[in-house]
Amino acid sequence: MNALARHRKLTAIWSSEPGWKGWFSTVNHSDVGRMFIVTAAFHFLVGGILAMLIRAQLATPHSAFAGPEIYSQLFTMHGTIMMFLFAIPMIEGLAIYLLPKMLGTRDLAYPRLTAYGYWCYFFGGAMLLISLLFGIAPDSGWFMYPPLTGRIHSPGINTDFWLIGITFVEISAICAAVEFTVSILKYRAPGMTLAKMPVFAWYMLVVSLMILTGFPPLILGSILLELERAFGMPFFQVELGGDSLLWQHLFWLFGHPEVYIIFLPAAGMVSTILPVMSSTTLLGYRWVVAAAVALAILSFGLWVHHMFTTGIPHMGLAFFSAASTLVAVPTAVQVFAWIGTMWKGSPTLRLPMLHILGFFVTFVIGGLTGVMVAVVPFDWQVHDTAFVTAHLHYVLFGGFVFPVLAGIYYWLPLVTGNRRFFRLGEMAFALIFLGFHVTFLAMHWVGLMGQRRRISTYLPEDGWTVINLISSVGGFVMAFGLTLVLIGILLNLAVRHRARRNPWRSGTLEWAIPRPSAAYNFASLPQVNSREPLWDNPVLPAELARGDGYLGDAATGRRESLMVDIATGKPEQLVIYPANTRLPVILAAVTGVFFVSLLVKIYVITPFAIAAVAALGWRWVWQLGSRQDLGDQPIGHGVLIPPIAEVSRPPGWWGSVFLLVANATLFGSLLFGYAFLWTIAPGWPPPAFMEPSLPTMLAAAGGVMLAAGGTAIAVRKNQNGSNPAVAISAALTGALGLVVAFAMMLWNAPPAAEHAYNATIVVLGSYGLFHATLTSLMVLFLLARQRAGYISQRRRGELSIVMVWAIYLFVVTGLIILAVYLPGLVG
């Protein structure tokens, strides 16, 4: 088979359906990545237009352009769109598109999940845009502080759009994070050890772990606030034992890591592009990786610095002030590693480099003002003024938009196969850079003069007129520059002007794929021996196209790739991917029905939507696996490895583990909220504690032990070659018993609307009920799979996946029982 025949054959296997219909059924990472990027860019446009409206409003005093009702929607939606519908999805899109190519593999770990995440983002984003179109958009500021967002002060549907729409969108972030974590750890080219991974992959690994632990507090907060608004469960109402500060803690537990979730991928791009632009390698790769890890974890200890003015004792503030200054150190390590890289090499001022220089200037200023606001007394003055708004734009625009623009220009030839021929990009850069600094330097100044953020207008006597006008003019210059960028990209797509295969002479694997990129990425998978495989072997692309690498024969007609050992990169399992399917878009639509039913408060639909999600989920997992043992498969070069259906840790096991990390963070945040209300909220202790119920406790203990024990015995029996059916049935009985126990707990719970304690008990019980039901379904699934012949001594993976969930259920059940009944037992 020659290279062209192989290309045709692989394209037939991997490509999506032709035409627009293909958008709905594609699960290929290149397609979905591009869809993410285009949709995120559209949201950036909308958010940008909102920004222009804000600047138009503030350009003159006594502005009558928009009244406060409209203006509040403008700034709330500007922040919300830029954070949740532009920045995070843009990162997801870029990483979905690039990671498999950089890691030398053919797709991400869970192709259907990639598509499902996209559609959740698409539908959730559409919900928010529709609210904006009808003038009923969220209007309480993008961090949604209650009690302003509570039912009394915001009776309209506006706030619900935010809480429900954003939670819907967050599903895509969690999906992507699970996917990236598993893909980076397990789906790499053979021989790519941790030390030989492209530095961007390290950054994305760190970021994915951050999303898994950073987003759950926000998701929990949104759920609690929506429960308060919809059913009067008073988590944030001080008269009934709640506390509005709880929201601020949950929000910023998410919100601060969020800033680094946005910055770190951009830093990863700088670490990738800057050495190439300087014709050298990154200085201090190990140090940069260590700095990224340090930055990621430190960023979780900063959240209270958004709350310096809430009256927390000075020692509490001091902890967070210290942590907030400390976080500047690993940032400095990276900045100086980059500058050192430029010194080491010979930098040239090509277009991506211009944006990187824009990044340096802007981000260094943003970092320095960041250290300023980390100093507590200074923050007391500038908190909630335009100074802080200016600072955050320096960090986010400098630390994200400039690197992303650099990245877009850098990888554009990879996507389109074309090169630029107009010099539009340089002009655009000049306008953006100039416009940005004029806008936001002015904003620092006016903030120091006392302009609060979020005011809709001001008086001529305030003396801010000229500065605001300058700031607005700068804003429009920047918008003009960004429009030129868009035009330049469209021209690049439209005009065929072929680029060389590796125009920047980069060393990483994404430049080894056919040009323009093929659906299968690599005709055969490379053996990697260094961080710059293309520099070691310039003819590598041709060798791969010839089928010299692994999996080069495309014989089976299936989408195949490899899973490797985390540390050594040795091939471990043969991956067989699912092909094109509409299941993801249908599942996302049904998930959307669930969220819309909550939004419009037609709760009769909700249970049907949940049942439909469960049924589709069942179908989703049923499609995988095989009814016969295939045995170890050849992957080329004489290597034999088992397919993923015949290992004890299949992709689903890894995915479950990392999904449970996020889930555990959500549960941990709930326990944190409980403890927080207990110690800080004024209305505690509650009038009465939950009466300990012996039958419930016994049923729960018995049920969960039977469920976990039964699953464990089933795993063991199957391992020894005997029939696990009886043990699985026992596990099912136990799980169902646990469902009954949690139902009893909820039945006996005190009225949730009367006190935050009662409401917390109900949420804890519901969490238990949900997981007991979920595990029951999983065990039932196992039973059905066993009957249908999908499980054998070799095909044991599904058992070990359910085992993970059963262990998790065991742990949370214990904690819930303690949290619910212990106060009643002791008090």
């Binding site: 201090g284 140090w287 390590v333 100086f336 320095l368 200074f378 006392g450 609060r452």
Partner: protein
């Protein structure tokens, strides 16, 4: 806040100027390093540095020294601005609601003013801040930093005006449609005038 009129605002303004100057120097230094990366090869203008110099010297030690100094300075100022008990301190209660402020003097519920806060000049005043509805924030930029009014909590802010006069006060936490004009005025009185105010002549 750049035109301070009380001890707290003074020390914060000084802190600002110190940080501005230090950070401008740092910024210029970093930009110079960046510009020097483009020096022509072999010009011998500046010698190349080793990896250790970049990472440990510039990346770790340099920021750590500056940050620790700044942190200590900031915490020291913060400690001084804490409201501590003392004979000289006047206590006034402030309750925010959408969109007004009510100030109560000497714990006497009948002795209140709306949207105008009277304080003695040249003496420390503790404002006990709370709210009747949503979160607001008490801020007199020329006198001190801000502190939030949070439902169910009472936060105490120490303010002091150097000389008698009138100072603009703001609520600095977004609170809905009336937020733009959620303002109040602080009037600082000399000793005799303050005595007269307390006796109810105003």
């Amino acid at each position: 806040m750049l035109d301070p009129a009380g001890p707290a605002a003074h020390s914060i303004a000084t802190l600002w100027w110190v940080m501005l100057i230090t950070f401008t120097v740092i910024f210029v230094f970093v930009m110079a390093l960046l510009a020097l990366a483009f020096r022509p090869a072999g010009s011998g203008l500046v010698p190349a540095f080793a990896e250790k110099v970049w990472i440990i010297g510039l990346g770790l030690v340099f920021p750590a020294v500056i940050l620790l100094g700044l942190l200590a300075y900031g915490l020291w100022i913060g400690e001084r601005l804490m409201p501590r008990a003392g004979a000289e301190v006047t206590r006034i209660e402030a309750e925010a609601r959408s969109w007004s402020w009510r100030f109560t003097y000497g714990g006497d519920a009948s002795r209140t003013t709306q949207n105008v806060l009277h304080i003695p000049a040249g003496r420390p005043v503790d404002i006990a801040i709370t709210t009747a509805d949503v979160i607001h924030s008490f801020w007199v930029p020329r006198l001190a930093g801000k502190l939030d009014a949070i439902p169910g909590h009472i936060n105490v802010l120490r303010i002091e005006a150097d000389i008698p006069g009138s100072y603009a006060g703001l609520s600095a936490e977004f609170s809905g449609n009336g937020y733009d004009n959620h303002r109040f005025t602080v009037i600082a009185h000399g000793p005799e005038e303050w005595q007269r105010f307390l006796e109810g002549d105003q």
